[in-house]
Symmetry: C2
Subunit: 363 residues, 2 copies
Amino acid sequence: MQRRRFLKGAGITAGLATVALPSLAQDTPTVKWRMATNWPKSLDAMFGSADELCQRVSVLTGGKFEIRAFAGGDIVPPAQSLDAVGEGTVECNHVLASAYFGKNTAFAFDTGLPFGMNARQHNAWVQYGGGRALLEKLYGQYNIKPFICGNSAVQMGGWYRKEIKSLDDLKGLKMRVGGVGGMVMQKLGVLPQQIPTSDIYPSLEKGTIDAAEWIGPYDDEKLGLNKIASHYYAPGWWEGSASITSMVNAKAWADLPPLYQAAFECACNEQTLKMLAKYDASNPPALKKLIANGAKVAYFPRDVMDAAWKASNELFAELAGKNPDFKEIWGPWSSFRRDEVSWFRVAESALDNFTASVVGKEA
Amino acid sequence: MQRRRFLKGAGITAGLATVALPSLAQDTPTVKWRMATNWPKSLDAMFGSADELCQRVSVLTGGKFEIRAFAGGDIVPPAQSLDAVGEGTVECNHVLASAYFGKNTAFAFDTGLPFGMNARQHNAWVQYGGGRALLEKLYGQYNIKPFICGNSAVQMGGWYRKEIKSLDDLKGLKMRVGGVGGMVMQKLGVLPQQIPTSDIYPSLEKGTIDAAEWIGPYDDEKLGLNKIASHYYAPGWWEGSASITSMVNAKAWADLPPLYQAAFECACNEQTLKMLAKYDASNPPALKKLIANGAKVAYFPRDVMDAAWKASNELFAELAGKNPDFKEIWGPWSSFRRDEVSWFRVAESALDNFTASVVGKEA
């Protein structure tokens, strides 16, 4: 019905211009969507971004296209969110696609892989590097159209009750770590544990687990893990960056007037910029606060990083061997990453590294 | 007139909801703006982004708010673009604010300073770090409201006819380099030259100048400077990133309906993401092509970087002493940069650097 109403509007416009622009005519349809996020409202950088996205779309359509963001579990259990969008139970969601790794390992490319592209490189890949077409083909199998709508950037490597001096210290460690990172950690001797967020603190406190990864300083600070597992490691190598996706039901998308599609897409791109800016602005003061409250920040030892890199490549080869979808994206993705890394070495990282070596040491 | 027409529309909407949303009513005004860019159309990443911005705004307003982007010099000489916007001769422009450094040195903060924040840090500062309020206060003196609408990221350090082995090799060098970078280079013994883009190639070929900086691989490749000055240095330390600004006449902005304001702002944020993604995707293949055609890529020697850092800080102290606007922004800007650099050292750069040390060396 929405589709028919729009087509009528488009017909009117078509008489006015050779390029058929969507019309602001009074018969623009009222559309109401629900967005199932995977975030509690306390994750305000993520839930807040979903909410801002919905508000922007509303303003851009004069209140005619209303999307309401729901907290994780309020309307759909997080594990079923992809299916709910594909089946049209909800029109869209706001998630880390890697949560659906169990359904198709290739979804990891949409979020980020161990030692994968950083936030800028990932956006470049999706927007101008052929990534969008590959991801749309993957999601097409599930009647879904994906949109990047945020990024938390590189996260931290988690909280540990004991210092990690070398790779040996990881062996036998019970750690709350999921997804692809958990699979790599397992190859390093860690025993990955699946524990809901609310149980992280008590589990670490009791010693049921020895370590836990969550997000980065801004979100981690709220959990207070520094009080019970003070060793805070960097970097969170299991994702080069963590890109957030809004999956949209393909039919619901096709039914939207072009103006509403443009509003949604533009608002998603805006939030990709803004969520990253929010994390980049919020992490530094949170890290200072954590350090003031006992967090001992350190880098993973080099042997851990080297072993994780080796184990990640083994895992990718296994996944490519088992899943044609993974294999199809792996080739062009790796090639794009190699070129990006080569270029970032030349200008971007060279200047970042020099600046890091002098800023704060001014006379 | 536009303002009155909108207010009438807003009044109608106000009866329908407690929150006054802009209306998609049929009486939304037709608004036509001109955007004076400072780019030739051949700089397609920059001019193309301005054009995409205008097209997005048009689609988001059903063709009612039309902005037309003009190539540099077509309607306003680039040097007069800021004045033209402030006086309302054109409604908006699309420029590097540092071009107006001669009018007020504090405009450099809007584009980027030597050893300043990278693209992500700059966006974080403007969006969530207090930067927007400071910049809006600065621009308010000129009846202008500024919007970030793109970024070229870290650029290259230019093309040199001879190898730069140490700081001594810069002394007496005639180099095409402008703005703040030129002032720092002058402190290092370089003789900065102001030369229009079209004269760079012949001037380098004839030896009228010894070196020239332009942008980065993607744009530089079109000029063909590798054929006559093959030493290509990195990084372009004179801007931590080069942020693009659309300056909007304050009255023209205030006269816009909120929906049109939202469309413009959302499209600017989208282009900030997309221009950066476009450069990040386009620079790597262009750099390969340049190298294949004789470019010798190298880093500036450490003594050049150290001297440039020292000279930059001297310059900043001089500028802060002379210009209260510069001084007002310098304090909070430096403090934000220090915190960002500290945080990027922990996670972002640590992972970038590790990845750079292993990618491309897989078995």
